[in-house]
Amino acid sequence: MPSELNLDYSLLTPEFCLAGLAAIILGLDLFAPQVRKEWLPYITALGLVGVLGVSLGWLDVESDFAGIIYVDDYTTFFRVFFTATAAVVALMSAQFVRDRLKNNGEYYALLVLSVIGAVYMAASRELLTAYISLELLSFSLYVLVSFARMDPKSNEGGMKYMLLGAFASALLLYGLSLIYGSAGTTYYSDIATAYSGSTESFDLGLLMGMVLLLAGLGFKVAAVPFHMWTPDAYEGAPLPITAYLSATSKIAGFALLLRLFTGAFMPVLDDWQWMVAALAALTMVLGNLVALQQTNVKRLLAYSSIGQVGYMLMAIAALSAATASALLLHMAGYVVTNLAAFTCIIAWYNLTGKDDIADMRGMAERAPVLAAVLTGALFSLSGMPLFAGFFTKFILFQAVASEGFIWLTVIAVVMSFVSLYYYLMVIKELYISQPDEEGRLQVPAMASGLAVALMVGVFYVGIYPRPLFEIAEEATNILFV
């Protein structure tokens, strides 16, 4: 614990803004019902972009709030990342939420609130603060997943997610308490100090704590074998929330893991490294193999995202400055790609009401822009060149191999090859199969515009990744001083 508490509330301005934005959205919904349906998504997105701008004010600042919330480049990176992601999700929700869901105000307010949780997961350097932030994100998501109240699948998904999530939280808390018992503090830096001096070879409290902690966090990021909720929650959730789950919820988990493991547990690397490596291997293999069986595109992307989590866990297992920056790079590429894919799927669902892979046949004839972007996004996820996926995977895998985890890299490359198969099965429906019905569909300009814009982002990362990579490195430098 720092000797003198720095209670500089201005450091938290972006999050105050977010909370204010959520309040404004709720107020608008309450007092100005005529604007709420049409304008809420755009107000939300605009507000989020505004907060993004505000958070850039702390660029290259290094400061902390009472030793628990750190505002540095790492935090700024994720502030930008999460607000931008939420803004895109708000935009892609517009039509879907207006047509299919009730209580639009709450939907967008929860979306904004979840960003606060996600940001503090990345920013906190104290176990309990991290835990509370995680719960803030999770609770928003529990509600959002079950937001389609009349849809039994949404209820089922939400229920599973919440029950298992509560269970995971309990595990996590227990793990944290054991670590507290072993280290005597909840501050990351103090934990690191406590362990760096000790020469004791075996610390049961720490080991049990690590196991429980990994189980709890493994649940949040959907690592095998704690992934069971993922396919159901993905399938049941309203589509934009599925996209949001695959993006922010996972990335925030990794932001926390990275901050925690670099900040607190580097001295006891040997105690947890093998666990994370095993989790990574399991997650990659199972996620990708089970994805082969899926017939629904949401479930397919759920398992494919589990596979992606496996790749990301490798970076935690082979933790170093190089893998950390590679991880941030990969996550950024992955999120842009995934959002592009979901934008197309949502637009298709809005037009046809279908989300089975087989029902996407002939999309190239009926909605060529969506089909092209979706194909590009899937190629990117499988790691094909020109798209973001090739470069970010290449760098991530090479970084892991450079740390000596060649066996993990080999599994990752093989699984990445397996993933190509199920992505190709979707692409086959889009391009090779003939459509059921004739005629072009009128895709709203908003949807195709967003899809194309995200695709441009995917190409940008794939062809000129230098700026992003350098930003990622700058953001992670602070973790390794």
């Binding site: 400055a321 190089a322 920056s325 590679a326 190239a364 060529p368 194909t375 190629f379 094909m384 060149p385 020109l386 090739f390 290449f394 760098i395 895998f397 090479q398 970084a399 191999a401 450079s402 060649i406 890299t409 080999v410 490359v413 093989v414 090859f417 190509l420 198969y421 190709l424 692409i427 086959k428 391009y431 090779i432 990744p465 230098r466 990579f469 350098e470 490195e473």
Partner: protein, 504 residues
């Protein structure tokens, strides 16, 4: 003047045209065609220039060099990191020329495609950009980048514009073939991927620059372990037995121009990869594993030829003959002597133009007759004299008739093989003999002899169109050029071959 921008243009032009095509309305079928053929012509011009402006005896190992910083000093990347390093040596030069020739001929042959021809040409040019990229890249990252780029569009090209085959006892749908080709090739590239990772780690120089990686001394055992990754990984694309079965299926299902490009040029990427990543990077590993390669290569030659003999489908015959001819390339490389490797590279070029011509001619026939069954034809020479002449030239080049390109290449390979592995030389010659059998038999049955009544009256077959004529003629020009005047090729290749470590 030699400028790396020439090589950069071979990659950038097709990519740029692919983007331009995105903006062309898909109803403008003709505009797409003109633009594509013009691009093909431009690429042909660029590659001719690159080939003939390449200076023999210049003392430079790589010419047309250029190096653009792309990423450096981030994470594990050091001073040079990843650079867009382009350049060609005497092996790259004929390969660039080959790509230019076949890509141009392919755009001409593709003129008649009407179904979504815009999408077709976008993917086609992505493929072409990938192929050029592999031949001119001197950076391991970009080498692999373009290698994957060359595989990426194949699935859709075959799946959407390809054709399924039916035989009395089994069928091969285009979806099956497209999937098989893509998965096998990407699966093989897993090995290359892993190879790249371990080489980068072992070299520990923080750069993917190939020239820098060549100068590192790798541990002998490391080389022996890693070389097979590159050998098999690249070998699969070169049609290496027993991983060759994607090739006949894939080439048969693909639309004509894609078969030409894939059999003519893409299979050469595999052989090129064995040289660039295998022999040049890990010479001691190469020395250790070459006896295995010569064995597999010999099987390729003989097995491929026997399989080709058993085919009743024109395109399958050509497909298996490619497997057989790529066997000569592998055998030539495996000899590790100057003559043999020289022959291998010559064969890469020779087989490229010759097989492209064969696939083009099969396409001419199939597009009219909608069957490729050899037994369904006879006496074609009466109705399609030019077609028969073109096909015959390709066939004769493939069986090694002196005066055509195949002879020069195969003769060198034979010499090389007899030098190092006399016992296998006989088998190699046997392969050529079998080739003569199936080519001549096919010609006798389908081109000469009784005219089949089925193709008279309404179904009368017409000779080639103007575009097919021009496309074929360009290919033939190079078959004959290399046959009667091989020195531009031999000079460039033999100089470079001697710079490959371990080749004497």
């Amino acid at each position: 003047m030699q400028s790396g921008y020439v090589l950069l243009a071979t990659i950038a032009v097709p990519l740029f045209v692919a983007i331009v095509l995105l903006a062309v309305p898909s109803k403008q079928v003709n505009m797409v065609r003109y633009l594509s053929v013009a691009t093909g012509f431009a690429l042909f011009g660029l590659s001719l220039y690159a080939f003939f402006a390449y200076q023999v005896d210049s003392g430079e190992q790589y010419q047309f060099e250029m190096q653009w910083a792309w990423i450096e000093n981030v994470a594990f990347l050091g001073e040079d990191g990843i650079t867009l390093h382009l350049g060609i040596d005497g092996i790259g030069a004929p390969m660039v020329l080959l790509t230019g020739i076949v890509a141009f001929a392919g755009t001409l042959i593709s003129w008649k495609i009407e179904y979504r021809n815009k999408d077709y040409f976008i993917l086609y040019f992505l493929l072409v950009a990938g192929v050029f990229g592999v031949f001119v890249s001197l950076d391991l990252f970009f080498w692999f980048f373009f290698y994957e780029l060359a595989v990426l569009p194949m699935y859709l090209l075959i799946g959407v514009w390809g054709a399924s085959s039916k035989f009395p006892t089994f069928a091969r749908t285009k979806e099956y073939s497209a999937l098989k080709l893509t998965m096998v090739l990407v699966g093989a590239s897993v090995l290359i991927f892993v190879g790249i990772f371990v080489v980068f780690v072992e070299a520990d120089t923080g750069t993917f620059d190939l020239v820098a990686l060549y100068s590192v001394e790798y541990d002998e055992n490391f080389q022996k372990i890693v070389f097979p990754l590159f050998l098999i990984g690249c070998g699969v694309l070169a049609g290496l037995w027993p991983f060759h079965t994607w090739s006949p299926d894939g080439h048969v299902a693909a639309p004509t121009a894609v078969s030409m490009l894939h059999a003519g040029v893409l299979m050469k990427l595999g052989a090129f990869g064995i040289i660039r990543l295998g022999m040049q990077l890990l010479p001691e590993g190469a020395e250790f594993w070459m006896p295995m390669l010569i064995t597999l290569g010999t099987i390729n030659v003989v097995y491929g030829a026997i399989s080709a003999m058993a085919q009743t489908d024109f395109k399958y015959m050509v497909g298996y003959s490619s497997v057989s001819h790529m066997g000569y390339v592998l055998m030539g490389l495996a000899t590790m002597n100057a003559v043999g490797v020289n022959g291998a590279v010559l064969q890469m070029f020779s087989h490229g133009v010759m097989t492209a011509l064969m696939f083009a001619m099969v396409g001419v026939l199939y597009d009219q007759a909608h069957t490729r069954d050899m037994a369904a034809f006879g006496g074609l020479v009466k109705r399609m004299p030019h077609f028969v002449a073109f096909f015959a030239i390709a066939g004769l080049a493939s069986l090694g008739l002196p005066g055509l390109s195949g002879f020069v290449a195969e003769f060198n390979v034979f010499l090389g093989v007899f030098q190092t592995y006399p016992a296998l030389g006989g088998l190699a010659v046997l392969g050529a003999a079998i080739t003569a059998v199936y080519i001549l038999r096919m010609m006798a049955r389908a081109f000469f002899g009784e005219e089949n009544e089925r193709w008279s009256g309404e179904n009368a077959l017409k000779d080639m169109s103007r575009f097919e004529y021009v496309g074929g003629a360009i290919l033939i020009a190079f078959i004959i050029l290399m046959g009667v005047f091989p020195s531009p090729f031999v000079d460039r290749i033999s100089e470079t071959v001697l710079q490959i470590p371990g080749v004497a």
